[in-house]
């Protein structure tokens, strides 16, 4: 998360270059090491995924994706993301609002709880739900009596995904909302706006970028989650396999090209996410960084206004 914060500070980045002039030798050594690392550990594997996926040509690639079981996995992944992301947007907004705008007992506890999914291993998260809703679990009997299936079914996968992706939206929004404070909302109220108008016209636009950013990260994780989903899914081919699970299964069955075909879709999602993120950061910097580039023209300074007779 720290990386995100510093990256956004464009003004700071420009200044830091001046203070840290190094010899060209040191500069290029460092740059080469960083580039080589990225190349070997990030770019090559990524290129390899696509190379392997297309190893047997376009037709085979298409077939691998449209195979009923793979197609089912794609649809399930989209469904789970479509449910869990909006819910986490809602929870994230509510939690961030509560933390940023109110003082209450147990606030630090709530902040810690929001971070819990980051610190708990996804496998443990999955197991928690099995312990709660599994056949031998806490609510298992009660659910079984009513013929409700959560574990080894879509609800379980969705719950596990929600748990794992919970912090993304809230974590992004809390600092933005804290920085904005409550005065703009109070101003809206004094101007006659009701709660909904205030939220829609004042609160939401001011946290827009943070929110979109959180949604993108949340979505990427929701579609890519493996550990927690693996525990609760049951791996029923064509029914409870999400894309990551499907990739693993195909790979274990020695269907390399098919595995890489599905994997390439996930990789593509990652690339699109990165692309949108970069675009948003650029756009945000442009929107809010404008003040530094375009100072108030000297001809419009306040003294002019006062000396002119404006009230006549």
């Amino acid at each position: 998360m720290a990386g995100i914060v510093t990256k956004r500070n464009h003004a700071g980045r420009a200044q830091s270059q001046r203070g840290t002039e190094e010899s060209p030798w040191a500069k290029w050594t460092l740059i080469s090491i960083a580039m080589a690392f990225c190349l070997v550990f990030l770019l090559l594997p990524l290129v390899n995924v696509f190379a392997q996926a297309f190893a047997k040509g376009w037709a085979h690639y298409g077939q691998a994706l449209t195979h009923p079981d793979s197609w089912a996995a794609i649809k399930l992944t989209l469904l789970v993301a479509a449910i869990s992301v909006p819910l986490n947007v809602l929870f994230g907004l509510a939690a961030a609002w509560a933390i940023a705008k109110f003082e209450f007992r147990g606030k630090s506890l709530l902040i810690t709880l929001i971070d819990l999914p980051f610190s708990v291993s996804p496998v443990v998260a999955g197991l928690m739900f099995v312990v709660l809703f599994g056949l031998q679990g806490f609510f298992g009997e009660w659910l079984n009596d009513r013929d409700l299936r959560i574990i080894f079914a879509v609800p379980g996968i969705t719950l596990a995904t929600i748990f794992v992706t919970f912090p993304f939206v809230a974590r992004e929004l809390i600092p933005v909302m804290q920085a904005t404070g409550t005065e703009q909302e109070q101003a809206a109220l004094t101007l006659g706006a009701n709660g909904w108008q205030t939220f829609w016209h004042v609160t939401l636009p001011s946290v827009k970028w943070g929110l979109i950013y959180g949604i993108i990260l949340c979505n990427a994780r929701a579609m890519g989650e493996f550990g927690a989903v693996s525990v609760v899914s049951g791996h029923i081919t064509g029914q409870t396999d999400t894309m990551p699970l499907r990739v693993e299964k195909l790979y274990n069955e020695y269907q390399g090209p098919a595995a890489f075909a599905v994997a390439s879709l996930l990789a593509l999602l990652a690339l699109v996410t990165l692309g949108i993120k970069t675009f948003l950061e650029w756009k945000q910097a442009r929107e809010f960084g404008w003040a530094q580039q375009a100072p108030v023209p000297a001809s419009e300074r306040d003294t002019d206004f006062v000396t002119r007779e404006n009230l006549g």
Partner: protein, 367 residues
């Protein structure tokens, strides 16, 4: 729009921010709430707006109790200290916001916003975002936005606190003119006594949650009801004296104290303008040396050191200063024309007393 506060108390947990405060603001008045920070004046303003609920007491607007009326329905315009402009909206939409949520017709909104842009000298800036405006422009947008829905009362929290000192003075005059033009009941909060004195029809003085005095600027200055007000509004020399033989003494200074027993301790205060100075050393009873001259613009602030080392402060105009031929380290004679015996904080002050038998007209009087 008349506003009345009746025995308003506000507690934040254990802390009493406002303690049984009552006052009335008449239709069309321009009233300043003055006091040191933490005095409770902003809390009072927020309770009038409905942004805070009084713990006890009633807020009345035009005789109607509005404790249970929501912020939205009180029809007030509120200007926040930090202006709280909507940073994601441009100037036009900031000013139009209150009209949009009140479902004005589009043509009416356009006309009203244009009228305000014109009135506030903001023409041509309607497409700017708040971060593209100067401090003074932001303030005017904030006031225009608050006035757009034609509120019956305008509330301003430290309106000039965030503006450059250089233009603050001019903006004060502008606020007075604006108030005169629009004639909307206006209440503003300030910790700057000069600002309050200059702008307000009447001043309400707060200290630690209590209302200390309410009155016209001149009234508050000339007849402070207690020591806090006397010392907070304007400058005052304060001396600790001891009574002996009906005379209160502090070093060589003597003040009549008839009827006070020997050994009684009196706190005595006098305004800088009560100090009369002459280059003629025989003119007045006390010898002093002018130690420092501070230039405040039209006025000069002077510090005299008496023979005993006691420092007293005075003020006079440049012209008087020149006429008396004063300069730093110049020896003069002086006297204190009138003074007050200061009671303990909160207690009523007795009226001002004449210290000298005959008080000739002085230079620099009324400053």
């Amino acid at each position: 729009m008349s506003i009345e506060l009746k025995h308003i108390t506000k507690k934040f947990g254990e802390v009493t921010a406002v303690n049984r405060v009552s006052f009335t603001v008449n239709e069309g008045e321009l009233v300043g709430l003055l006091g040191p920070s933490g005095g409770g004046k902003t809390t009072v303003l927020r309770m009038i707006a409905g942004l805070e609920m009084p713990t006890e007491g009633d807020v009345l607007i035009r005789g109607q109790r509005v404790n249970d009326v929501s912020v939205q329905q009180r029809n007030i315009g509120f200007v926040f200290q930090s202006y709280a402009l909507f940073k994601t909206m441009n100037v036009f939409h900031n000013i139009a916001f209150g009209l949009k949520v009140k479902k004005w017709r589009k043509a009416d909104i356009l006309a009203r916003v244009m009228e305000l842009l014109e009135l506030f000298g903001l023409g041509g800036l309607e497409k700017r975002y708040p971060h593209q405006l100067s401090g003074g422009q932001r303030q005017r947008v904030a006031i225009a936005r608050a006035l757009a829905p034609k509120p019956s009362v305008l509330l301003l929290d430290e309106p000039f606190g965030a503006v450059d000192a250089k233009i603050r003075q001019e903006l004060r005059e502008w606020l007075v003119t604006l108030h005169h033009e629009l004639n909307v009941t206006t209440i503003f909060v300030t910790h700057d006594q000069e600002e309050a004195m200059e702008v307000s029809n009447r001043i309400v003085i707060f200290s630690r949650g209590n209302l200390e005095q309410i009155g016209a600027p001149r009234e508050v200055y000339e007849q402070p009801s207690n020591e806090f007000v006397a010392r907070f509004v304007g400058v005052m020399n304060v001396l600790e004296t001891e009574v002996r033989g009906g005379v209160a003494r502090a070093n060589e200074l003597e003040f009549p104290a008839h009827g006070q027993p020997d050994g009684a301790r009196l706190r005595i205060g006098f305004r800088p303008y009560a100090v009369q100075v002459s280059p003629d050393l025989a003119m007045y009873p006390y010898r002093a040396v002018l130690r420092h001259t501070f230039f405040l613009g039209v006025l000069l602030r002077l510090e005299f050191e008496l023979a005993s080392g006691l420092i007293i402060r005075s003020r006079m105009t440049k012209e008087d200063y020149a006429q008396l031929g004063l300069a730093d380290d110049r020896e003069v004679s002086l006297q204190i024309r009138n003074f007050r015996v200061l009671a303990r904080e909160g207690a009523e002050l007795p009226p001002e007393q004449i210290a000298v038998k005959e008080a000739p007209p002085t230079l620099g009087e009324g400053i």
